[in-house]
């Protein structure tokens, strides 16, 4: 079935997403397309129903004056009507521009203004308020449409419209014939879809802006669909699959995995009731395809471990025993290697008693394929999930590529690589170690920034990723760091900050780490503790604290973190290339790094240069030998107000170790 579908797609019958919608509404008309939990009950729309809703909404958008080539903003979390807005806009030849729901007003204003948006579709009152507050900075924005009607009844409705009203309006128009011809609005709508083609800009995704202002990445319809066909075939996805859409709507991952793949494969997208209920909703739906960044897997594991520590001694022992069994045999069984019969038996028992119930609690019971990407994942963490029998794999991708550049095929899974190139992708490593690629979903260009587009492309049409990496002997790509971030210490030794930070972050106590070192005599780090893990530890050890700041500054916390840093140094000492970059001094920051303060990107990546500038006095203190430094920091709250927090920060030394050849224990740790 899979192949026949791909063949039909390949002949160019459906080169835009609305055409795929029409195809699904005929071929799998009654299959569930979207689910959304409302008032505690899962509501379902079949593909046929989705087609009708999208049609009604497009007709209403046309009445509001949305034209071919216009751009329409989508602001909110994962809700079916927001996904349908993508399709409704594409039906008319307009380009949807999703914006992160948690953007502060400034960021929102920048994107809306830069994208020249004329209509915005918002999730609820919060987003409408944000849009209204910036309306004088985006003069082109004429209409705002909202989904959740709560609290908006008394607003001035001259340019504000409820989604439900729009649908009603559209539904009334469907059968009406236009004055001049015999065609109904429905015929007209189908005509609009037919007029679209694969070269249309299907969507514009703004990059998270790891470096500087975010850019509008334009993706073509045909490119998006071709890329999605490749991975749908690669992972054998079809209409019987189901995903839970909880990733930010504006992120390429969500648009690819949940929107594009769903339309191509015909699978169902389930939207959680609210972002906070996502874990429970995940459990109720039991998705078959799942994506999460490493930090989600990490926090899930931390939560499981905390709860196991609170369980009865019998359960605790059972858990640890069978997790050890899984650690030994689980991955081998998953990779279909030969395993002794007794081990299989023991694993089967473990599955009955521990793995299956645990996966059920996490909502992972039905998963066929799961991916992680975005950051390096700890080998221990990666093996933990795989040993439970969950087919977790890694991929490497970019907004500019429309996600996939590489992905691990079944049976070739390793924690430290991101896999070989996905079908139809070619990769080249530049002389400076930068990874370059050409892919079917490759972007058309940055909106209104041809000079930046040119900068990103090589003369022969490859895209520069900005990441440094290399291929290992098996043909798998390994990413070390951002190409620009790889530097040298004062004595010329190699310094890859990401590499250090990832090693530090594999400890549950450390949530975020920022390493410094280029041009300096030794490496140092600024750390954030993980409040969940450390708070639990504090409770057990009778440590009383009132705030993150107080806990972070506690001498015992410092002691514990110091042991973690020294453990990292020990591992580094065993790696000749990295041994010089051991961390001599570190500090625990008095506040959590936050995207609202510009310290992280919206996708939670560290903005190292910004942090270096903001905390310059602290970095100076890390190198001038002082043991304390006072600092006052401005913080921004979500509503845009500013405040300040100050603290006296302790700087701690950490032991470093002479370079040693790897011993047996280190080998084990590295495996």
């Amino acid at each position: 079935m899979q192949e026949s579908m791909s063949v039909r797609l390949a002949d160019g019958a459906a080169d835009t997403f609305p055409k795929l919608l029409l195809r699904n509404a005929e071929r799998i008309a009654e299959r569930p397309a979207y689910r959304f939990k409302d008032l505690g009950i899962w509501q379902t729309w079949s593909w046929r129903e989705v087609r009708d809703q999208v049609r009604d909404f497009s007709i209403a958008l046309d009445a509001l004056g949305l034209k071919r080539g216009d751009r329409i903003a989508i602001v909110g979390s994962n809700r079916p009507r927001l996904y349908w807005t993508f399709l409704a806009a594409q039906c008319l030849g307009a380009t949807p521009v999703p914006v992160y729901a948690d953007s502060v007003a400034d960021e929102l204003a920048y994107v809306l203004d830069h994208a020249e948006v004329t209509i915005a579709v918002a999730e609820d009152q919060e987003q409408v308020d944000k849009l209204l507050s910036i309306s004088d900075r985006v003069p082109r924005l004429t209409h705002i449409i909202y989904d959740d009607e709560r609290g908006l009844a008394k607003y001035d409705h001259t340019r504000l419209h409820a989604f439900s009203e729009m649908l009603l309006f559209g539904a009334k128009q469907v059968g009406i014939k236009t004055e001049t011809t015999e065609r109904t609005r429905d015929d007209w709508w189908r005509g609009q879809i037919a007029a679209g083609n694969g070269r249309d800009i299907s969507v514009m995704l703004y990059t998270s802006g790891t470096t500087g202002r975010s850019k509008g990445v334009m993706l073509s319809a045909q490119g998006c669909i071709n890329a999605a066909i490749d991975t749908v075939t690669f992972d054998k996805l079809d209409e019987s699959d189901v995903v839970v859409a909880y990733l930010p709507l504006a992120w390429v991952g969500d648009h690819y995995l949940n929107f594009a793949q769903s339309l191509v494969a015909g699978f169902c997208v389930a939207c959680p009731e609210s972002p906070e209920t996502a874990p429970g909703d995940l459990r109720e739906i039991g998705p078959t395809f799942y994506f999460a960044p490493p930090r989600v897997f990490e926090s899930l594991l931390t939560r499981v471990m905390i709860r196991i520590e609170d369980a009865s001694p019998l359960k605790r022992r059972m858990f640890h025993h069978y997790i050890a069994v899984a650690k030994r045999w689980g991955e081998k069984i998953l990779n279909q290697e030969s395993v002794p019969f007794t081990a299989r038996l023991s694993y089967a028992l473990g599955n009955l008693l521990v793995y299956a119930p645990l996966k059920n609690v996490l909502g992972f019971s039905n998963i066929r394929v799961a991916y992680t990407a975005g950051e390096a994942i700890g080998p221990e963490l990666f093996s933990f999930y795989r040993s439970l029998g969950m087919n977790l794999k890694q991929l490497y991708g970019q907004t500019e590529a429309f996600l996939y550049v590489t992905a691990q095929p079944n049976g070739q899974i390793r924690a430290d690589t991101v896999g070989p190139p996905t079908p139809n992708v070619s990769i080249r490593i530049a002389d400076n170690g930068e990874v370059l690629y050409k892919s079917p979903g490759q972007f058309v260009g940055y909106f209104k920034e041809p000079e930046k587009t040119a900068e990103t492309m090589t003369s022969d049409g490859f895209v520069k990723t900005g990441d440094a990496g290399f291929f290992d002997p098996q043909g798998h790509l390994k990413i070390i760091d951002r190409a620009n971030d790889v530097g040298k210490l004062g004595d010329g030794a190699l310094f890859a900050p990401k590499y250090l930070e990832n090693k530090l972050k594999f400890f549950p106590n450390i949530k975020e780490a920022v390493a410094f070192g280029p041009g300096r005599p030794f490496a140092t780090a600024i750390l954030n503790i993980d409040l969940t893990a450390v708070a639990n530890w504090a409770e057990k050890n009778d440590i009383i604290y009132a705030s993150y700041q107080e806990l972070a500054a506690h001498p015992l916390v410092y002691q514990m973190v110091r042991r973690n840093v020294e453990a990292v140094n020990r591992i580094l000492a065993a790696e000749p290339a990295m041994a010089a970059a051991q961390i001599k001094r570190f500090l625990i920051l008095h506040k959590e790094l936050d995207a609202d303060d510009g310290e992280l990107t919206r996708t939670q990546k560290v903005r190292r240069s910004f942090i270096a500038e903001r905390y310059a006095p602290l970095i100076e203190a890390l190198y001038d030998g002082s043991t304390h430094r006072r600092i006052e920091t401005q913080v921004t709250f979500e509503d845009g107000r500013k405040g300040a927090i100050s603290g006296d920060i302790t700087i701690s030394e950490a032991e470093t170790f002479p370079t040693t050849p790897p011993t047996a224990t280190f080998k084990e740790a590295a495996e």
């Binding site: 008032l39 505690g40 009950i41 959740d148 009607e149 709560r150 609290g151 009844a153 009731e273 609210s274 906070e276 209920t277 429970g280």
Partner: protein, 272 residues
């Protein structure tokens, strides 16, 4: 959102906005020799948010207990929905649309949020205990109807994520919100809130204030609240009555009360 939790069609004899819904006249209450309330009179009109403030021991909570019939005053008259009584009875109060929350959260700690709010529907349930236990047809249909009302309240108060969490495990601010939910489940016409924001941080207070305004605004519920946070009282309430040592010392709009010398003295203390 479309909350049709409370006012459906106005029944005959419904109260117009601004009409007196409840009045206490000359109410006095003593416990042995302690005179908790001394000859207090004030009224609450339909649709308003009425604050009762005063220093510790002024008789605020006693006043709420008199209004919902938990205490019986020795003197005075209580008029609720045009009916004059010398004392309210709790079951009359509950069945006639007076809902309340408590100063110290009074929820069933071992039960989930959903079940706690569901208990607020008890008075509206018609089927018997046996029918409910065996999910007899009509009982099941009735439960579905009530569950729908409860789900709308859960949505209204944005507590979907704790729907199935035992309330004992919830932080204090959320417990307060669940308690408000249970009071709303009785579809009250008059809602008595005893220190709804006590012990909350700024963000929780802002959330709770918004919910109180929404309840008043969207459901049309009349609200009487006791609160210590003056900022909250001044922002939220339409009229304020001030008690001190069991006596009424002021009554009026927030700005009038704020300017009243007796009130300033009561709060700051004066040499007697």
């Amino acid at each position: 959102m479309n909350v049709d939790v409370a006012p459906k069609s106005d029944p005959p004899g419904a109260f117009a906005k601004g009409e007196v819904l409840l009045a206490v006249e000359n109410v006095s209450l003593s416990f042995g020799g302690v005179r908790a309330i001394r000859g207090v009179s004030f009224d609450i009109t339909k649709g308003e948010i009425r604050a009762i403030i005063g220093p510790n021991g002024a008789g605020k909570t006693s006043m709420l207990n008199v209004i919902n019939g938990f205490y019986h005053p020795q003197e005075g008259v209580i008029t609720y929905k045009r009916e004059r009584r010398s004392a309210m009875r709790p079951y009359i109060a509950a069945s006639q649309g007076i809902g309340r929350t408590f100063q110290n959260v009074a929820l069933f700690k071992g039960m989930t949020t959903l079940d706690n709010i569901m208990t607020g529907r008890t008075l509206k349930m018609r089927s018997g205990i046996l029918a409910q236990a065996f999910r007899w047809g009509p009982a099941e249909r009735e439960e579905i109807q009530h569950r729908e009302v409860v789900e709308k309240i859960i949505d209204f108060l944005e507590i979907q994520h704790i729907r199935k969490t035992p309330v004992g495990k919830l932080p204090y601010g959320l417990q307060k919100r669940v308690e408000l939910g249970r009071a709303l489940a009785t579809e009250p016409e008059l809602l008595l809130l005893d220190e709804p924001m006590a012990g909350m941080n700024l963000e929780e207070k802002q959330d709770m204030s918004r919910f109180i305004i929404d309840v008043n605004d969207q459901l049309g519920t009349t609200i009487a609240l006791i609160e210590h946070d003056m900022g909250v009282v001044m922002d939220l309430s339409d009229r304020v009555v001030v008690l001190d040592h069991g006596q009424k010392i002021a009554d009026g709009t927030p700005s009038e009360v704020q300017a009243n010398q007796a009130v300033i003295d009561a709060y700051l203390g004066v040499a007697h």
